[in-house]
Symmetry: C2
Subunit: 339 residues, 2 copies
């Protein structure tokens, strides 16, 4: 039996294209003592993976070269175990990478209860993107009921949760997204008060019109010109959560720097967010969000591709901003009948 994985076909430059990736196969790995083999059901594609491929996401990492497999979270099922704490049939989330099967020692691996919420949500609104939104809006910004929250990439798993968590606390949410289609979903399905298409002519005027009294909080996934535009609608003493730099993940050289006069003149409070600091909040986050998913107060969109061979093309779409919701690759069925 074979494991299919995606590796870089060449070093990346700028926005990725499908030809940057190729599928290779290898024999299915055998778990050693203390290991288990996970059959991947969902592969998570996230913008930070682009900067990780370039060796820029965390300090001290090397860029990936031809033949290297991108790292990523996957949701899957244990199919063979030589680990005392993980039985076959158990659903887990781990850093399995862009492949159909992956080994784990249990490190950076969490058990997932499929009764709590749909399996795929553990990579999205119930996963790292959702915890990021929780850390931003609940922990760092401490949103309260009379506030207005602005968020970019509003239909993505982080942005959609930023707005929805704000609304659960009684605040109002205004989104920014890359098409009228996305904006319609953000307002109609997710309940944001407004959503502004940043690709339209006159975006800044439309943003100002959507926020006549300004925003109390801006959650920034993007940096660059989007951050500058957001400062222009931020209230005096407003809060900015610095969380992502999407604008430059493809090409840092094209990044537009922040004019520090903007936060000074707005007396802004800016806070840098690294989601791994908030692991201790995961139980509270998961309980609240899983309940919200079950009772319909929390909604989400997914943009699915089928099969490991689509990972490169789907990731390329994501990095062009063409995804509509959380980008996932479906690698196999949720149940095989054996588990």
């Amino acid at each position: 039996m074979l494991n299919h994985k995606v590796v870089l076909a060449r070093s990346l430059a700028g926005v990725p294209v499908p030809e940057d990736f190729r599928v290779v196969d290898e024999p299915l790995p055998e778990p050693g003592d203390g290991q288990f083999l996970v059959r991947h059901i969902y592969l998570s594609l996230d913008p930070y993976q682009r900067s990780a491929m370039a060796g820029r996401h965390m300090t001290g990492r090397q860029p990936l070269g031809p033949g290297d497999m991108p790292a990523a979270e996957t949701l899957g099922q244990v199919v063979r175990s030589r680990h005392p704490d993980y039985a076959e049939g158990q659903y887990v989330r781990h850093f399995g990478g862009w492949q159909e099967y992956g080994l784990s020692t249990g490190e950076r691996t969490e058990r997932v209860d499929p009764a709590l919420a749909p399996l795929s949500t553990w990579l999205g609104v119930l996963g790292m993107p959702g915890l990021t939104a929780w850390a931003s809006i609940i922990e760092l910004a401490g949103v309260h009921a009379d506030q207005t929250v602005l968020v970019s990439a509003a239909l993505g798993p982080v942005g959609s949760m930023v707005g929805q968590l704000a609304m659960l606390r009684g605040a109002e949410a205004v989104g920014i997204a890359g098409s009228d289609e996305k904006c319609a979903i953000v307002t109609r399905e997710l309940g944001f008060r407004a959503c502004v298409n940043y690709r339209q002519k006159g975006f800044l005027e439309a943003l100002r019109a959507a926020l006549p009294e300004g925003a109390d909080i801006y959650h920034d996934n993007v940096g660059g010109q989007m951050l500058a535009d957001a400062f222009s609608v931020l209230k005096i003493n407003g809060t900015v959560i610095l969380c992502g730099l999407m604008e430059r993940y493809n090409d840092p050289a094209k990044s537009k720097p922040l004019d520090l006069a903007l936060p000074i003149l707005k007396r802004a409070v800016m806070k840098g967010l690294v989601v791994s600091d908030f692991e201790h909040r995961r139980p509270a986050f998961e309980a609240a969000v899983a309940a919200g998913i079950r009772d319909g107060r929390i909604r989400y969109r997914e943009d699915r591709a089928e099969g490991i061979g689509q990972a490169g093309a789907h990731f390329s779409r994501l990095m062009r901003g063409e995804n509509v919701g959380k980008a996932l690759v479906v690698l196999g069925p949720e149940t095989t009948g054996r588990a």
Copy 2:
């Protein structure tokens, strides 16, 4: 009798030089009804005046052209009054500009009690620079005793007060200044734990050696590369007060932008400071600092020039970072024997 004033001789470009300024004279102005004439004793020179001359300091202002007089705070004495609340002999601080005499209606004018502290300090450690430091360290950063505060331009009136207020709260202060001479004063006279000369080779290594455990708070007067260097010694979850952009007052085109990955990776809290927001804290600030000056716990350095004709040259030195302490021009004696 004549009033001598300094005006721009030409539009400014880059770092100012003495030839950018010239002295003109005019008849001494007569106060109208509700006005009073102030004889200026001290003229305050501050880096922000450079960006104000360029029309960049506050939004909606025009750059100064040839013949325009720079605005500035002055400390002086009322010599003729047609205002019911201001008597001749009264000491005041107002925005008198680069000239020997100025009219006031009482707007943006404060009475100064010469018994509380030396007159010149009302433009420095007891004035706007000191209030800026108070707003930063006491109000926004909320310094406490087990912390270490890093400040650039450490011998300037803002920086020296940032460090000294931190020390009054039991914290430790580390400074950055532009010469070994300044650094020696910062440590020996002001009591900072350490001071690092940013013009030395290997500055960053020296800064790291001075802060082996990092800084909890960085007060930024400068922006640019200095801010990036400060981030490299900031503790995780540290605080950065964004207060000045000295690095670009002379020439914004040469400014080095902030890499937003730095505050994100440091989980920093950055706060923009505009000193005029803290007018309501001025009484508490003045009481504490005037007492500190009188009992010697608060020290300060002044860099004085004599005569209005020196204002341009003295300001040029300030904007090259060659001042040693608060830059002042002495325009006349503190007492004339008439008041």
